[in-house]
């Protein structure tokens, strides 16, 4: 067979040398003809990228295509087949030469690029192609050759190979895009490997069958040709099925709906429910711990053909707020459609109260009566939210000067415009305290506390409801440091913790009322064992300060040991419950941990099901009194405080 390979090389020497020459000459040509704005190295890289993405595929189709059609030609039959080498091996030697020539050309391009590809300068698609270049090139060589052999024509074979290439590569690219952007929903590596194996085996098998049908003129030709066609088409199946599986799984992916604006004065989300969305179907709904759900937006019925191949997730923004009668207000805003305001409950369904014409910015505000503020082109408008039907009564509360309007159109947010109004609204709300201008007293309703050095005279303080009533945490200056004072109802203020704490800023209330926060994070070294040895990671371990409902304070509580034991938990750590001295924390989107007040003592932990772990730091959890609502890869799950989870 070696002699045949040498012969084939000699036969195709001229076109190969021409192509190699073109590749080699394009480097100095790029240097000569570059524009001023591009450096020499960049110019050469651009030329080589052009080769890689356009020139080489055409070169491959030419070399492999002519090799294939020559192998099937009458001349080959007359001259070469009578040699004492099996006809299949003769065909393989021609293929081997085409493959070797391709490899040499690719190597030349790669070498001119300095043996490295500037991945960061490429678009996603080109980077994907660059990563899998060897596979795509091999596919094109094999298929151009085999199809040119089948059709006895290089042009027909090359075009057919290109068509099959696109059909196979497109869904592969799609699936890779998915995986890159979001989540590993299907075993992409398996599908890629399967496709590669099928392509290689399929092309060689088809070539074998075609050799028997055409060269040896065996009976049953039609059957052999049909089988070859099936073998050649087979590698397109795993990517398609993979993509279909991906789409099916993606349709289940559930994400929480995050608010547009993160404001310290924003009202808390309605307790006990989660506003969730399925980014790949467009469905948005409100769900409670029992699994009852009410639809905000139904599924998009038709997202178009391009969306089939490159499904683009669309995310909505929204907010929930509980109303005085226990129902839930829901505001939800989609990019291309008007925003909606609804009222209702997960169990009973949601009713549309208003469609908001300006769908960019609206949010709930607290006050004596909860309300909604909407930013429109010409200014800000406010409407109180009252239960019952009837349209909202909008009142203009502020103008939009030209400068601010421009900034607003650019989307850079302009909170200062409304700060005064919001603060004013907030100040009038129940459960809100105000710091006096001289920083000495804190007043709320009829109560008054003395807090030395209280900070924030301009910002109203939101109170927290504990067992004994509404308490206020007031940040104050304390010599060179800060301190947090507790102002309980009917009692004097006392210093609670060292450090700056402010409700809504770094102090939050868990669904059961436990107050927790931290203003420092310390670094913890973690040694992670991998198969390559141990790797040192460092984690951030917050120093928690906790105030239970019945008034017990725990300061400087750290989870170092737990963080060391549970690797891979990325994202925020939150306290979600306290009961009889046991504390429950969520670690990122990965674990629910139950520990005693001794952080080095025994603890239990449960892995959250199907959660999105790696890529995203934002919490996909919503805690309520009974457990955790988890927006996961396959829908919404609920886990209770003993780690029992079920899918809703």
């Amino acid at each position: 067979m070696k002699n045949l390979i040498i012969l084939q090389f000699r036969k195709s020497l001229l076109p190969f040398l021409v192509l190699a020459g073109a590749v080699l000459l394009s480097a100095p040509a790029a240097l000569l003809f570059r524009t001023q704005s591009v450096t020499g190295a960049e110019a050469v890289n651009i030329a080589m990228l052009f080769w890689a993405l356009a020139g080489l595929p055409l070169a491959i189709m030419t070399l492999a295509g002519t090799a294939g059609s020559d192998a099937a030609s009458d001349a080959a039959r007359a001259v070469e087949q009578p040699l004492p080498e099996s006809q299949y091996r003769q065909v393989l030697s021609a293929l081997a030469v085409a493959a070797a020539q391709t490899a040499l050309l690719i190597l030349a391009v790669y070498a001119i690029m300095g043996f490295s590809v500037p991945m960061d300068k490429l678009t996603f698609t080109t980077a994907h192609v660059a990563r899998h270049y060897a596979f795509y090139a091999a596919f094109l060589v094999l298929y151009s050759f085999t199809l040119s052999y089948a059709f006895r024509n290089a042009v027909a074979g090359g075009l057919a190979a290109a068509a099959l290439f696109v059909v196979t590569a497109f869904p592969l690219l799609s699936a890779a895009l998915f995986g890159e952007l979001l989540l590993d929903l299907i075993p992409l590596a398996f599908i890629n490997s399967l496709t590669a194996v099928l392509a290689l085996a399929g092309a060689l098998g088809a070539l074998y069958l075609l050799c028997r049908a055409y060269a040896r003129r065996e009976a049953g030709r039609a059957a052999k040709v049909l089988l070859s066609a099936l073998l050649l088409a087979a590698p397109a199946l795993p990517p398609f099925f993979g993509l279909a599986a991906l789409r099916a799984k993606a349709a289940d992916v559930t994400w929480p709906v995050y608010p547009l604006v993160l404001s310290t004065d924003a009202p808390e989300a309605a307790p006990g429910v989660m506003l969730a969305q399925k980014p790949f179907t467009g469905e948005v709904f409100l769900i409670d711990g029992e699994g009852r759900r009410a639809v905000v937006f139904p599924e998009d019925s038709d997202r178009g053909v391009p969306n089939y191949f490159f499904p683009v997730p669309s995310f909505v923004r929204g907010q929930t707020m509980s109303a005085s009668d226990g129902s839930v207000w829901v505001y939800c805003n989609r990019y291309d459609k008007p925003a909606v305001l609804l009222n209702g409950s997960a169990a009973g369904g949601l009713k549309l109260r208003a469609a908001l014409p300006d769908s960019r910015r609206a949010y709930f505000v607290r006050g004596k009566v909860a309300g909604i503020v909407e930013r429109r082109k010409d200014g800000a408008y406010y409407a109180p939210l009252r239960t019952g039907m009837g349209p909202l009564e909008w009142k203009k509360i502020g103008n939009m000067p030209a400068e601010a309007a421009r900034r607003w159109l650019a989307g850079t947010g302009e909170e200062a415009l409304l700060d005064a109004f919001l603060r004013g609204m907030l100040a009038g709300a129940p459960g809100v305290a105000v710091v006096s201008a001289d920083g000495r007293t804190v007043t709320s309703g009829g109560e008054k506390w003395t807090v030395p050095g209280a900070l924030g005279p301009k910002s109203p303080l939101v109170g927290v409801r504990l067992d004994d009533g509404v308490n206020y945490i007031v940040p104050a200056g304390d010599s060179k440091d800060y301190a947090a004072y507790l102002c309980p109802p009917g009692k004097a203020a006392r210093k609670l913790w060292q450090g700056y704490f402010r409700v809504g800023s770094n102090l939050w209330q868990a669904p059961d009322g436990t107050l927790w926060g931290y203003n420092r994070k310390l670094r913890v070294d973690v040694a992670v064992k991998t198969i390559f040895g141990t790797k040192k990671n460092d984690l951030e371990s917050p120093q928690f300060s906790i105030l239970t409902r019945d008034g017990r304070s725990i300061e400087s509580f750290r989870l170092d040991q737990i963080l060391r034991d549970l690797p891979g938990a990325k994202g925020e750590i939150a306290l979600v419950r306290e009961e009889n001295g046991a504390l429950w924390f969520t670690l990122g989107n990965a674990y629910l941990v139950k520990t005693g007040t001794n952080p080095h003592g025994p603890y239990s932990y449960w892995k959250l099901p199907q959660s999105v772990q790696e890529k995203y730091w934002r919490s996909t959890l919503a805690a309520n009194r009974d457990g955790l609502l988890i927006a996961a890869l396959d829908g919404v799950h609920f886990m209770d405080w003993e780690g029992r989870a079920r899918k809703l």
Partner: protein, 288 residues
């Protein structure tokens, strides 16, 4: 040493709806020279193709030199094949062709090949693309015999060649026979000058070997009987009507015995008996 060089039983091959070989039985012993006589398109080349393991038979069996055609190409290394239209790579010279082939055949004798070039007056440096038909035939002959195969398959080896080249080829054939041990199968649609070299003539007709005669039989025992017939007569076996006018008819008779018996037939009394030429014998066999 096994004396059966080649044996086929019931070979069948069809290309689509067209059946070319319909149960072909052929056998050859060591040292035999067999001529396969068949009209143009009768399947001679297909038969060779199957024997050379280039085309797969649809049915039947073949055993050549102890091997069966299995697609591996091994058989082609043991057979010397001169195709009807010899073809080589146009960019090679005669010497390059021979050197190229030498690498494929274990028993290649380069000295013999070069000697043949000289004897046949073939310029080693001449390029294939510029060769005349005669030179291509010479090169094909050298390529087929230089590796001393036990079996030679020649497809129309002399058709279209001038007298001198034909002479060279025939002399080469005789030389190979003189060396001893070679079996030669020649497929031709005109046996002509080969008559003296053949041991046996097989007639390929309707996809099978219709008749097989020793060459000496055809040379010595083929007669033409010219007779005047008053009324139509039934012909015994081995007697073929050749044509003629209404009353005067010609008949071919194969076999001395058959001739004697025919002479006893009253209808044939007074027939003029003359020998039937080899060419005419072939024509009769083909046309039957």
């Amino acid at each position: 040493m096994n004396d059966s060089i080649l044996e086929t039983k019931g070979l069948r091959k069809a290309f689509g709806p067209k059946e070319v070989l319909k149960g072909l039985d052929l056998s050859a012993e060591r040292g035999e020279v067999i001529g396969i006589l068949g009209r143009n398109g009768s399947g001679k080349t297909t038969l060779f193709s199957i024997l050379l393991d280039l085309t797969a038979a649809d049915g039947g069996s073949a055993e050549i030199l102890g091997l069966r055609p299995d697609g591996s190409g091994r058989l082609r290394g043991l057979i010397g094949y001169v195709p009807e239209k010899p073809a080589f790579h146009g960019f090679m010279t005669a010497l390059e062709v021979l050197e190229f082939r030498a690498r494929f055949f274990k028993r290649w004798d380069m000295a013999k090949a070069l000697d043949l070039c000289r004897k046949l007056e073939l310029d080693q440096a001449s390029r294939v693309s510029a060769m005349s038909k005669g030179n291509l035939a010479k090169l094909a002959w050298i390529a087929a015999t230089a590796h001393n195969p036990e079996l030679l398959l020649l497809d129309e080896p002399t058709s279209g060649l001038d007298y001198l080249v034909r002479d060279h080829i025939l002399n080469g054939l005789i030389h190979e026979l003189t060396e001893g041990g070679k079996t030669i199968i020649v497929a031709n649609h005109r046996m002509g000058e080969m008559g003296g070299i053949l041991d046996r003539v097989c007639v390929l007709r309707d996809g099978a070997i219709a008749a097989s005669h020793a060459a000496s039989f055809l040379a010595e025992e083929a007669f033409r009987a010219t007779v005047r017939l008053e009324s139509p007569v039934s012909l015994p076996a081995g007697v073929v009507a050749l044509g003629g006018g209404s009353a005067l008819r010609d008949f071919a008779v194969f076999g001395r015995e058959k001739l004697e018996r025919l002479k006893l037939d009253p209808a044939f009394a007074g027939a003029e008996i003359s020998p039937l030429s080899l060419e005419d014998s072939f024509k009769v066999l083909l046309g039957e």
